[in-house]
């Protein structure tokens, strides 16, 4: 007689010792392989690297006579760290004891939120980095004067008709604004491409699970 799956299940587990728990030792010190813990580790390591790197660059920039660049980089990166540290805290608050729908929704919401926030940050950060770079060299000391002022003087000698706005050639302002605009546009996109490589599969999978669960909720 054909056995039902219920009987296969019951009888299968009754007559053998297949449910013996595997040996677990040193569980305390095991590195968690869970995706949330992996995110936490990755996030934390990135933030530590950014803090250390920006501090080092701040010091180096002082010795390279470009402290303005170092300071602007430092402030921008600290804002990035602060925002992402808050995101990390929220990730830690996801309760795994919720039902699957709430749990997956909370996790999916966290990922999407952090992507949206970091994409927006990238749209600002790349132009700010460029501006920091330009200002860093503009205010670099060049024999008692700023390198930028010296450059403007040189330009005025060669092109006396150059139109200036607050002492800066209009053409230079237009080029800088254009570059910043392009960096803002591509900054967000570059971040999304990066993300697609790292999280693409996770996001697609989460979407699949959520869609399936939502069909069971309606």
């Amino acid at each position: 007689m054909e056995r039902s799956i219920e009987n296969i299940w019951k009888e299968g587990f009754q007559k053998n010792d297949d449910l013996t728990a595997p040996e677990i030792d040193n569980l305390y010190n095991q590195k968690s392989i869970h995706i949330i813990d992996k995110f936490k580790r990755m996030f934390r390591n990135n933030l530590i690297a950014i803090v250390v790197g920006s501090f080092l660059f701040l010091i180096i920039s002082y010795f390279l006579d470009i402290p303005v660049m170092g300071a602007l980089f430092f402030v921008t990166l600290m804002v990035h760290v602060f925002i992402n540290k808050n995101l990390l805290k929220k990730l830690g608050r996801i309760d795994q004891g919720q039902n699957s729908y709430q749990y997956l929704k909370a996790f999916s919401h966290w990922i999407k939120n952090q992507i949206a926030i970091n994409k927006r940050l990238s749209e600002f950060m790349y132009p700010i980095f460029f501006l920091s770079f330009v200002l860093g060299f503009w205010f670099k000391d060049a024999e008692g004067t700023y390198l930028g002022d010296r450059l403007v003087d040189e330009i005025l000698i060669r092109f006396p008709d150059t139109y200036l706005i607050v002492g800066i050639p209009l053409m230079a302002i237009i080029i800088a604004v254009l570059i910043m605009g392009l960096l803002a546009y591509f900054g967000g996109r570059i971040y999304r491409w990066d993300l697609n490589i790292i999280y693409g599969r996770v996001l697609r999978k989460l979407d699949e699970l959520m869609t399936d669960l939502e069909s069971l909720r309606s």
Binding site: I8, L19, H34, R201
Partner: protein
């Protein structure tokens, strides 16, 4: 983790953890990783247990949530997010139950989507539609219909194998 906590709060429920982890893995190595991770996450989340549900339900929830979002090891050592809508890989020879019919059933279960796998596992553990819905956060009315569909699908897969 204190060994007392493991012995008193996890080990009595190791059966369901094992059954669930087996449904989401294809090798002994992955299974042991999943089992350890579920135990670790139960221990870490224990402070959040508010006795609104039974401890066993809590264990089910965490086990299931961990299995749904765990990174499965690939043979080439790189890792990817579990994608089980794809056909299951063949199981390893040393990774099998002693009951052949049970092995066939597990192979069939591994071919289901992740959510269907969870539902049928809970159903086979004799959870009511309401309990399954509570654990998964779904509508209990839809669970019965889905269980019937899953059973038909399993039957098809098993018939195909047996024939």
């Amino acid at each position: 983790m204190s060994s007392d906590f493991y012995k008193t709060s996890i080990l009595p429920f190791s059966g369901i953890i094992i059954k669930l982890c087996r449904a989401y893995t294809n090798s002994q190595e992955d299974f042991e990783d999943y089992y350890q991770e579920v135990c670790l996450q139960i221990w870490r989340s224990k402070e959040n247990f508010r006795e609104e549900s039974q401890w066993s339900t809590w264990v089910y929830r965490i086990s299931l949530n961990v299995c749904l979002t765990l990174l499965k090891k690939k043979k080439n050592n790189s890792q990817h997010f579990v994608s089980d809508s794809l056909p299951a890989q063949e199981t390893e020879d040393n990774y099998a139950f002693s009951d052949e019919s049970l092995n066939l059933l597990y192979d069939a279960i591994r071919k289901l989507s992740e959510i269907d796998r969870a539902i049928i596992m809970l159903y086979l553990e004799e959870k009511s539609n309401q309990e399954i819905a509570d654990i998964m956060g779904t509508n209990p009315n839809n669970i019965g219909v889905r269980v019937r569909r899953i059973k038909m699908r399993l039957k098809k897969i098993l018939d195909g194998k047996i024939n």
